[in-house]
C-alpha cells in the first residue's frame, strides 16, 4: 500500500503518530489456526481413546525391549550352563556391555581395569569363588556398600546377563589395570 493512502489516527503522543492500518490478514489466519489446532490437539490427546499417554508409550517400549532380549530365553537361572550360553551370544553381550558402560564403568573402568572399584580383568576376586557368585555380588553388593546393591535397578534376567558379561572381562588387557585385590581363583572352566 502506498504510504500516502494510509490513514493517520488523529492522536499524537510526544510527536509519535499512529496509522489506522488493519491487522494483517495472515496474522488473523495463523492466530485462528493455532486456536483450532489447540482444540483438536487437546481433544485427541486428552479425551480420545485413540491416543496413549507418555507413560503408556514408555511401558510399550519396555515390554518390546524385554521381549526382544529375553523373549526366546524366558526366565534365566544363575547357573553355569546359562552363563556359558549367554557368553556365546554376541548380541546379548553387546547389550550387557551397554549396561556395564552406563552403570559399572564409573568405578570399574570402561575396560574393567578398575578405578575406585576392583579390577575385573585379573584372576583375583574378593567376593567371588565360582562364576555364579558374581550374580550375588551384583544383586546384594559387597564390602559395606563399597559395591552397591543393584537389586532394585535391574531385573534378575538383566543381572544374570550382566554377570555373564563380567565373566568375559577376565583375562582382558586393560589400559591401566588396578592392583589385584582378594585371592586368585581357578579359571571359569570354559
Amino acid at each position: 500500500m502506498n504510504q500516502t493512502e494510509e490513514k493517520l489516527m488523529h492522536h499524537e503522543y510526544d510527536g509519535i503518530r499512529e496509522y489506522d492500518n488493519p491487522t494483517p490478514g495472515w496474522w488473523h489466519l495463523i492466530f485462528i489456526a493455532s486456536i483450532i489446532f489447540s482444540v483438536f490437539y487437546a481433544m485427541y490427546w486428552h479425551m480420545s481413546p485413540l491416543s496413549s499417554s507418555i507413560e503408556e508409550k514408555w511401558k510399550q517400549s519396555q515390554v518390546a525391549e524385554y521381549q526382544r532380549l529375553f523373549g526366546e530365553l524366558g526366565t534365566l537361572h544363575n547357573d553355569e550352563t546359562t552363563l556359558k550360553m549367554l557368553i556365546g551370544k554376541a548380541d546379548m553381550m553387546a547389550v550387557a556391555e551397554g549396561t556395564f558402560q552406563t552403570t559399572c564403568a564409573s568405578c570399574h573402568g570402561k575396560d574393567g581395569g578398575g578405578i575406585n572399584g576392583v579390577n575385573l580383568t585379573d584372576d583375583s576376586y574378593k567376593n567371588v569363588k565360582v562364576a555364579t557368585d558374581i550374580f550375588n555380588v551384583v544383586t546384594d553388593g559387597a564390602n559395606n556398600g563399597a559395591m552397591p546393591s543393584w537389586k532394585n535397578q535391574f531385573s534378575e534376567n538383566e543381572r544374570i546377563l550382566l554377570a555373564a558379561y563380567i565373566m568375559t572381562l577376565r583375562g582382558k588387557q586393560p589400559a591401566s589395570p588396578k592392583q589385584a585385590e582378594g585371592n586368585p581363583i581357578p579359571a571359569w572352566g570354559f
Binding site: F31, A42, W58
Partner: protein
Amino acid sequence: MAAQLTTELGRSPVTTAGYGRMEKFSYDDAVVRKFLIATLIWGLVAFLVGLIVAFELVLPTILKYVPWLGVLVNQPDSPLNGLGQYLTFGRLRPLHTNAAIFAFAGNALFAAIYYSTQRLCKARMWSDLLSNLHFWGWQFIIVCAALTLPMGITAGKEYAELEWPIDLLIAVVWLGFFGTNFFMTLKNRRERHMYVALWFYIATIVTVTILHVFNSLAVPASFFKSYSVYAGVQDAFMQWWYGHNAVAFFLTTPFLGLMYYFLPKAAGKPVYSYRLSIVHFWTLVFIYIWAGPHHLHYTSLPAWASSLGMLFSVMLWMPSWGGMINGLLTLRGAWNQVAADPILKFFVVGVTFYGMSTFEGPMLSVKSVNALSHYTDWTIAHVHAGALGWNGFMTFGMAYWLLPRLFQAPLWSKRLMATHFWIATIGILLYIIPIYFAGITQGLMWRAFNETGRLQFPEFVETVTRLMPFYWIRVLGGLLYIAGMILMIVNALMTWRARPAVYEEPVHEAPALIPGYVDEPAPESHLVGNLEVGRRMDLFIQGWWHRVWERKPLKFTIWVIIAVCVASLFEIIPTFLIRSNVPSIASVQPYTPLELMGREIYIAEGCYNCHSQMIRPIWAETKRFGEYSKPGEFVYDHPFQWGSRRIGPDLAREGGRQSHDWHVRHLEDPRQLIPQSVMPSYQHLLNEKLDFDSIQSRIDAMAMLGVPYGDAVKKGRGAELAKAQAAAIAKDLVIQGGYADLEDKKVLALVAYLQRLGTDISKPPPTAEGMPVAVSGGTP
C-alpha cells in the same frame, strides 16, 4: 505544544470540555541518567561473569594452567586462599543470570520507563524522592545479590535465587517506590489518552509484582535460609509460572513499550498500526501467562498442565509477532535511513531477534521437539538470542539515542557506535550458532542407540566433551559482545565529558485534565446490507471502544490484573487441589536431619545449575539413568530441584549407585575418577565442619511446612540424629576406602543426601509412626 493541543482539540469538534488551566512543568532526566549509567556498568558486569562461567566449562582446571592463580587461591598463607569455592560455575551462573536480567535489563527498562512515561504523560514523575529511592534501592538489591550468590546464600529456584530478606526488599522497591511513583504519574498526567507504551508498562508493573510475591513465599529457618512453601510438583509449577513470565513481563512487555516509544522516535515515522497494537497487547497479556508449564514437559507435572503450556505457547506465536510486525513495518520506506543510522540498525536487529525467539519459543514448547531440546544447550542458545539480541540491542539502540539528549552534547563518535553494532552482531552469531549445534548434538547423543539396542554413548561425559569446540567458539562470541559493550561505555564516557556545566531543564506547558471530557461518538460501521449484529461486530473489531479505556488508567489496570489472574488461577487451582495430580507413595519419607543439611549444601553450591533430578519417561533416558521419576517422590522437596540443564548427569536415582567412598573422592576432585569431567572440585567440603547446631531450626521450619518430622521436632533431637548417621557413614567410609576423620565434615551430609536420592520408591512402606527420621544406617 500549541500544535499538539490543536490536534487534540481539533479532533474533538463537539466540545473542548475537560481541559483546565495551562500548567508549567519540566521532566526529571537526572534519574534517567542514573539508570542509564547503571545499565552500562551492570551490563558489563553481567557479561563478564558470563564470560567467566563460559571459560569454566572449557577450562575446568584453569587454576592448573595458570600457576600464579593456583598459588593465589590455594596456598594456605595467601590472603585469597579458598577464593575458588566462591567462583565455581554453580555459584556464578545464578549471579550471571540475575545480573543480566535484573541489573542490566532491569536498569535499562527503568531508564526507558522514566524517560518515556514523563513525556507520554506530559508530567514530571510524581515524586523525585520515590524516583531516587527506587534507583538507590534497586542498586542496593543488586549489590546484595552480587555478595550473597557467590557465598552460596540462595533459595535454590532459578532466577528467584535471592533469599527472603532481599525478596522483601524487591517487593518494597518495585511496588512501593516504582509502582507508586508510576501510577501516581499516570493519575496526574496531562495527556488524556495513554499511548501503547504505557499499556505495556502497566502490565509489567502489576504482573511482576504478582509473580514475585507468589513464587517467593517461603518459611525462613534463619536470616539467610528459607524454604519454599511449595514442594515438588507444585513448587515446580509455581517456579516456571514465575520463570516463564519473568521472561514475559520483565524482558518482553517493558521492552515492547521501549520499542513503541524509541523506535518511531528514532525513525521519525508513525507506528504501522494502532489496531494491531490493541489486539496484540491484550492477546499477549492474556495468553503468555498460561505458557509456563512448557518448561516441564515429560516431567512429573500432570499431562493436562503440560498440554496447556504447549498449546498456549503455540497460540502465543501471533500475539508476540504483533510487536515485531508493528516494529518492522513502522520502518517501511525508511530502509535508506536504517542503512545510515546505527541506532535504527540496533532496533531492526533487536526486533528481528525478538521475532526469531518468539517463533522458536512456541516451537520448543511442542512436546516432541522439547523431548530433544530439554536439558540441552538449545535452551541456552534460545535465551541468548533473546537476551543478547532483543534485550541487548534494544537497550543499546535506546542508549545511543538517549546519550546526546541526556548529556546534552553530541555523541562522541558515530563510527564507534557503528563498530559496536557490527562486532556485537557477529558476537551474537558466534555465540548462538555453535550453541545450537551443541544443544542438538548433545540431545541426539543422549538418545542414540546402536544396532544391538544399547546406548551408543553410554558414558555421560562423552556427551559433554564432544561439545568443547562449540564452547570455545562461544567464548569468542562472548568476547566480541563484551568488546562492543566496552566501546559503548567509552563512547558514553566521552559524551558525558562534553556535557554542559549545568544541564538545561526546559519548561513545558499543557492544560490540566479536568472532568467533563466528552468521548468521540462511536463511528458508523461501513458495512451495508448486513444484520445489526454484523455491524456491531465490525465496530467491535475496529476497536473504537478501546479508546475510552485508554483514558482510564485504573480501569485499564484492573483489566490487566483480571487477564493475568484468571489465566493463572485456571492452572494454579487444579494443580494444588486435585489429589490425583500427585499420587502419594507410602514409602516416600522426609529426609533425615543429616540429609536435609546435605540438601542445603547441594542447593548452596548450585548443583541444580548442571544436574537435573527428573528422569523423563523416555526410553533412552530410563536406560541411562534408571526408572523415571514419579510425582509422589518429591512431596518433601522444599524447594524442588529438578533443574533445567544437564551439563552433568541426572541425579534423580543417584542414591545407591556409587559407594560413599566414590562420592567423597569425586567431590574432592572429580578428575581423580573421571579424567574428562568439567565439574569443579569441592575440596572445601572435606575440610569445613558441618554446623550441627543449626540443624534444629531447619527441621522446625520444615515441620512448619507440614513435613512429618515427629520426634525430631518434639524432642529437638535433630543434631543428635544427624551425628549418629554421620558416624555410621564415616565408619563405612573407612571400611570402603580409607577416608578417615570426616564424620563432622560437610561432605558427609552431602553424601548422605546423594545416597538417599530416588531410593525411597524401592523401599517397603514404613510400619510405625514417627520412624521417618530413624537412622537407617549409612549403607545404601
